[in-house]
Symmetry: C2
DNA sequence: AAATGTATGTCAGAATACTTACATGAGTCA
DNA sequence: TGACTCATGTAAGTATTCTGACATACATTT
């Protein structure tokens, strides 16, 4: 604390901590590396990482709505909408033109989509395996659980 | 379509693993939450997270080149260039119009930039502290080290 | 039934970041 | 010196994602 604020040139000139020891920095670095590697891996299938995420979500929740997919992929509805359209035009997913009950248009994988997704999954799993290869089982569990707690800590106090 | 390969529904229908147990998923989730929280925290200062990262880099490496900043922030030179211009127009950083020796235009924080950055740093550190608050010191070390190893594993085999 | 609140899908525009491309300066090597 | 390589800065165009806005459909309340 201490906000005498006058004689504290500390704010700027102190070299606070090594970047590499900051979780946020490592997080961003790893995310960047993972994204690059995944894009590279998926390029032969003409899929981007967000597109893959969309298909993957759909595999786990067949018939999901656009908004549901968006929440699961941590993007906005609008972003997911453009994503869905692209995949729809390519024939990888289907979506009814009109809603059955509400406004929800349940989306599903086509057989072509399943085919592409199968290839994508095996590639992505290989990347994922490579990423965690330096960690033993116990460490993986610890890290995953730790990240889960960090997420909760960030989100709990947020109003929305 | 329908090819002989009907009886291997394994590729798609198997529910492979819980999403929450996948490191990549948790990574994305946490990154998303962190980004949102940081943007929210920095909004009163009229700074976005990328802009903050730029200033923060500059604090650690005064006189860094645009390309250097880009690498440190995991964005392209061009992206950092637009970022730098915006901050320059706002008077938070300075950049010589012409290069002294090579083509490098060393960038530095202005006193106004230092002032804003100081406020930003304290806010961001609060967010960061909240994020890691559920972890004890040992776990933080383990997680940070684990992420470092994952980064290395992803990057080592890459030609890029 | 009417009003309200919530969730969805979608359009339009702006912000953001990337890819491609080119020119310039410096270092290396013949 | 000249050719080659590499890194930098920048421009133009594209792609991606967001914010703001609006209409629709259902549930709840009055």
């Amino acid at each position: 604390m201490s906000q005498g604020s006058e004689d504290h040139n500390a704010g700027t000139c102190e070299e606070p901590v090594e970047l590499e020891s900051l979780l946020g920095y490592q997080l961003k670095h790893l995310q960047s590396a993972l994204r690059s590697t995944m894009d590279e891996t998926l390029r032969p299938l003409e899929l981007t990482t967000p597109q893959y995420n969309c298909l993957e979500q759909l595999r786990r929740r067949p018939g999901a709505s656009n908004s549901e997919l968006a929440r699961g992929a941590f993007v906005t509805r609008q972003t997911m909408n453009t994503l869905v359209r692209g995949l729809q035009e390519r024939g990888l997913i289907t979506r009814p033109a009109t809603a059955e009950s509400g406004r929800v248009l349940p989306t599903r994988l086509t057989s072509a989509g399943v085919e592409v997704l199968d290839q994508a999954v095996s590639r992505v799993e290989a990347v994922s395996a490579r990423m965690v290869s330096p960690l033993d089982d116990e460490t993986r569990t610890i890290v995953t659980e730790a990240l889960r707690r960090c997420i909760a800590a960030l989100e709990e106090a947020e109003d929305g």
